[in-house]
Every structure is written in structure tokens, then in C-alpha cells.
């Protein structure tokens, strides 16, 4: 069980407002990318987010462009868990591949506000917030394995290290 401060958003938030397209080929370091996280959605986010904070959103979080900075920008800013009523499919995959836990939990964003604290119990798939307990589904084993490895890059590093040194 761990405690997290929330940043709460609505439905259909797209990756253009999470990380504007004009930066995608020019900003490269984690610090530069983090500084523009959620720039056109919530200008206060990048300046005030703290490590361990979580995003709590409505349906179809991360729709639009496939740009991976949609996940890495909040990640580099300190967010390791994103909770949404549903995720856009590429965004969901980008989360797994970057080692960010996507939690599908409909209804939560209507009950909490930015700044509220919630409790997350990952092993038991539970969230406690606003006096209620929510349960969230487990990931399939093959997908969980990528997350457990810390993301797709560490997982493949292990595989390719094994191939070159049998």
C-alpha cells in the first residue's frame, strides 16, 4: 500500500496537449522533455509535480499521436502510475514499454480532485480513495513481464546480452 498525490483530468485528453508535436524532434533529454509535460493541458503540472504523484483521468487518456513522450514526459517529471477510466491503445502500450503502470479504473476521476491523496495496493489490485475501495484488473502475464523488467528496453537488453554471451 502506498500513498500518492493526484493530478485529476477529464475524458479524451490527447497527446498533443500532453506533449506538443512541435517539440518531438528537437527536445531529447529527460529534463527538457519533463519541463514541457502536459504543457497545453495544465500549465501548473510541470512546475509543481513531485516524484510519486499519479495522474487520474477519464476515458481514452492519451488519444491522438503515438508519440512516446506522451508517457515519458510525465514519467521523467516523476509519475510512475497513471490511472484512467480507459486508455488509448498506443498510449497503454507506451506505458508498459516505459515501465509506467497503467491502471484501468472507471469512475475514480469523478470522485477525487487534484491535490487529493489516494492509496494504491498494486499486489491486491485495489485503490482506496474518497472513502471507497476500487478494484482494478491484473495485466496479462506476458504484459506484466515487460512491466516487471522495467519496460521493453531492459527486457530486450537482457535477451540480447544473453545472445551475445551464451
Amino acid at each position: 500500500m502506498s500513498s500518492h498525490r493526484c493530478w485529476v483530468y477529464g475524458d479524451n485528453v490527447n497527446t498533443d496537449v500532453i506533449f506538443p508535436g512541435k517539440y518531438t524532434y528537437t527536445l531529447k533529454t529527460p529534463e527538457e522533455i519533463a519541463a514541457h509535460a502536459l504543457e497545453d493541458l495544465d500549465i501548473s503540472f510541470a512546475a509543481n509535480v513531485r516524484r510519486g504523484d499519479v495522474i487520474v483521468a477519464g476515458q481514452n487518456w492519451g488519444c491522438g499521436s503515438s508519440r512516446e513522450q506522451g508517457v515519458t514526459a510525465p514519467k521523467y517529471a516523476g509519475v510512475d502510475i497513471i490511472i484512467a477510466a480507459s486508455f488509448s491503445r498506443i498510449y497503454f502500450r507506451n506505458c508498459i514499454n516505459q515501465g509506467v503502470l497503467p491502471i484501468v479504473c472507471p469512475g475514480l476521476n469523478a470522485l477525487v480532485q487534484t491535490g487529493d491523496s489516494i492509496e494504491i495496493d498494486i499486489p491486491n489490485g485495489q485503490i482506496r480513495a474518497a472513502g471507497r475501495t476500487f478494484t482494478f484488473p491484473r495485466l496479462s502475464p506476458s504484459v506484466q513481464a515487460i512491466l516487471d523488467a522495467g519496460g521493453l528496453v531492459p527486457m530486450l537488453q537482457h535477451r540480447f546480452a544473453g545472445e551475445s554471451h551464451p
Binding site: 506538443p20 508535436g21 518531438t24 524532434y25 516505459q98 521493453l152 530486450l156 537488453q157 540480447f160
Partner: protein, 418 residues
């Protein structure tokens, strides 16, 4: 037991298994994979993984299209790293600055065929449904993994059937159909789904018009989209293809989670208002809204027929606001030049730019100033999409964009078509 959807059949084939059902997770070996200006970033991820060589370089395509010709030194450096990588890895299909937009170029070159699977590091990879292929977008890290291993896990999606009936009226296009679908069902309406088109309208759509439907389904949350390929597609491919193929069709008793039907014969032109592609109204409800810029181009609507539509509207008129026209490929630009379309556009006051994505995602070549409204033939109008959150973007067909350019305000193209 019910029959199989297109997605179930295509992913089973690409995974080398006899059959698959929605919900199954498969290791899929795509027939083609592609990326664009993001390839330098993908190269860095690939190197970090520790892989040495791309697994199947003959099945890799890279197109420089998102910021071409390079607008800044940083973009130029990005392109230079990609060219070096293409040479080093012997990548099979590389398309230089000016050749066009990845989805259009790969279609023109017939690098993907009916019944095949293509994965691209671009959200509009749903585009290839127009050929009866399974096209889906992936992130940069997954493209690096695909380069390294040639495989990727995919969950077989549930499917939705979109049945279109009737024939479109003059001045109404596949763009208007796709906007109407978004307006009716919302940007989350096709989330995670294989959107499989059916109905008698499909065979009435020209080659240039067909890609619009699956392309825009990216804005619908779709994993992929599909149109049943017919002789129009087969004849087109015959002149270009370099390998054999076997098309796939859904079974008549396939299970669809949702059925949506639209009679297009009474459809009017549609328009998406700022700032979301599903904020769709009938064009007649938006007439007269002032615009300072009009943009015709992109993977959605930058083909020859789109430029022809604009020319049909603009012939004999002068634009009252800036009109930027960017053909989707060098082939489109060449044909539009030969046929006199470019001359008509220039005479009307348009400016023509290098084939590529142009200002669609705010990189260059037509970024609006704050508080300037743009009407665009693209697929996305999210806040800040074209470079600044204060610039509203409207989405419509090339006909509507051209008519609006003449009026400096949103206008009905049917007044300019005989």
C-alpha cells in the same frame, strides 16, 4: 461457433497460428514495418537494447516526411543520423525529403498488400486498411523492438462493423463520412477495436478517396481499420507489387461487438469544430465563421483527387485568405502539375509546398499566429496541434477548405460546383 472477423484472420496468419479470437495475445511477425523522422530516436533505442543488426531490413521502410526540407539545424541533424543509419543497416526502402508522406508513399510503392500486417511508428497506420491490410500504430520503443526481433505481441481486437449504403452527392466525400462517424460515436467510439467497413458505398469510392476512411479511424480510437479489397485495388496493385498475396475477408457470421450503419446518400458536407475531431456539425451550421488560413494536404486528404477537388472549386476565383497546398507525395505533385491542377491553384492565389506533413502537427510551413483560425483537410484539430493552443483549427474536406479560402470564411463548396 461464429465466424472470424478480418482482424482475427489477419493476425492469426501473421502469427503463424491456425486461428485466433478476440482477446488472444499473439506474437505477430508483420510483413512490413515503417517509421519516419522519428527513426533517429528509434535508432538510439535500438542501440540501447544492444541489438546489432536489423532482423529483416528488406521489410523496413523509412520515409522523411514530418519536417521536410529540414526547417532547423536540429531537424537537419536528425535527418542526417537517419541517412547514416539507413546505409549502415542496408534498410530496404528509404524515401528522401520530398518523396511524400509515409502512408501515401508506402501505398504508391505497394510495399504492403491485401491480407498482410503492417506496423508503423505513427498513429495513422490504420491507413492501410484501404488495401485490405491490417495496419496499426506503435510507439518508438516498439519499433526498435521490431527492428531488433521482427516480432511484436498484439492483442486480437474485438471488432466493430461500419456499414455504408448509398452514393454520395456532388461535393460530399469520404471525409464527410468519416467526420459523421466521429460525430455520431465520439473519439472513443472505436477504442481498441478493428473497425471493419462494409456496404455498397465502398465500391463507389475512388482509389484516392478510400484511404480517408481508415486513416481517420485513428481519431476513433481504432486499433486498425479494414475495407474489403475489390478489383479496383487488385488492378492498382498489379502494376506495382513485387510479391504475391491472398486477400482476407471477414466471415458473414463473424461476431461484431457493435454495428453502425449510415446511409450516405443524404449526407451533407460536415465540419469538425475546434478542438476535437468529434466536435462535428453539419457544414450549414458553421457557415460564415472567419478563417485566416486554409490548408489542403496531409495523409488524409493530399492526393490527386483532393487537389482536383480544390481546383474545381477555385477555378476562376481568388482566395481571400492564405491557402497552403501540400501534395501528399512527389507523384501527386507531378500528376497535378501535368494535368494543370497546380496552375489553377496558383492562379487562384494558393501557395504550394514540398510534399510531406507540412504544418499538420505544428512543425513548419504554415503555422498560424495566435487567434488565427485555420480550416484544414487534416485529421486532427487538438488544441495546440498546429503550434499554438490559441489557434483554432477546423477540419473538413478539400472542397470545403477551398470554398472557405475563396470566402475567407467557412463556406459551402456546392455553390462553386456546377
Amino acid at each position: 461457433m461464429s465466424g472470424k472477423t478480418f482482424a482475427e484472420k489477419a493476425l492469426a496468419r501473421a502469427a503463424g497460428v491456425s486461428e485466433a479470437s478476440a482477446g488472444d495475445i499473439l506474437d505477430v511477425r508483420p510483413d512490413m514495418i515503417f517509421s519516419h523522422d522519428n527513426s533517429a530516436a528509434i535508432r538510439h533505442i535500438f542501440e540501447k537494447i544492444g541489438a546489432k543488426n536489423i532482423a529483416r531490413p528488406d521489410r523496413v521502410a523509412i520515409t522523411l516526411d514530418h519536417a521536410v526540407p529540414a526547417p532547423t539545424t536540429q531537424h537537419a541533424q536528425n535527418h542526417a543520423e537517419i541517412r547514416e543509419w539507413v546505409k549502415e543497416q542496408g534498410i530496404g526502402h528509404f524515401f528522401e525529403v520530398g518523396r511524400g508522406i509515409c502512408h501515401q508513399v508506402i501505398s504508391e510503392e505497394a510495399l504492403i498488400l491485401p491480407g498482410e500486417v503492417i506496423l508503423g511508428a505513427d498513429s495513422h497506420s490504420t491507413h492501410f486498411g484501404w488495401l485490405g491490410a491490417f495496419g496499426a500504430g506503435v510507439g518508438r520503443t516498439e519499433m526498435a523492438a521490431l527492428w531488433a526481433t521482427g516480432e511484436l505481441w498484439l492483442r486480437v481486437p474485438e471488432a466493430m462493423r461500419v456499414t455504408l449504403t448509398g452514393r454520395l452527392q456532388l461535393g460530399v466525400t469520404a471525409k464527410d463520412i468519416s467526420l459523421r462517424i466521429l460525430g455520431d460515436m465520439g473519439v472513443e467510439g472505436g477504442l481498441y477495436r478493428s473497425v471493419e467497413f462494409a456496404g455498397d458505398t465502398l465500391s463507389t469510392l475512388s482509389l484516392d478517396e478510400r484511404p480517408v476512411l481508415p486513416n481517420v479511424m485513428a481519431e476513433f480510437g481504432a486499433k486498425n481499420a479494414y475495407m474489403p479489397p475489390d478489383d479496383v485495388v487488385f488492378n492498382y496493385l498489379e502494376a506495382h507489387r513485387t510479391r504475391d498475396y491472398t486477400p482476407l475477408y471477414p466471415d458473414p457470421d463473424a461476431h461484431y461487438a457493435i454495428d453502425y450503419a449510415l446511409d450516405v446518400s443524404q449526407l451533407e458536407p460536415q465540419i469538425a469544430l475546434p478542438h476535437q475531431p468529434d466536435n462535428v456539425v453539419r457544414l450549414s451550421d458553421a457557415i460564415g465563421e472567419p478563417v485566416q488560413q486554409a490548408f489542403i494536404g496531409t495523409c488524409t486528404n493530399g492526393r490527386l483527387e483532393d487537389l482536383q477537388a480544390a481546383a474545381d472549386v477555385l477555378r476562376g476565383h481568388q482566395v481571400a485568405c492564405r491557402l497552403v497546398v501540400i501534395p501528399a507525395s512527389s507523384q501527386v505533385l507531378l500528376e497535378a502539375t501535368r494535368s494543370g491542377i497546380i496552375e489553377t491553384l496558383l492562379m487562384a492565389g494558393a501557395t504550394i509546398a514540398t510534399p510531406g506533413c507540412g504544418p499538420c502537427m505544428g512543425n513548419h510551413m504554415g503555422i498560424p499566429a495566435p487567434n488565427e483560425a485555420t480550416i484544414s483537410s487534416a485529421n486532427r484539430n487538438f488544441k495546440g496541434r498546429m503550434g499554438t493552443p490559441e489557434a483554432p483549427v477546423y477540419l473538413a474536406s478539400p472542397y470545403v477548405v477551398a470554398a472557405s479560402a475563396i470566402c475567407g470564411a467557412i463556406a459551402d463548396p456546392r455553390e462553386f460546383l456546377s
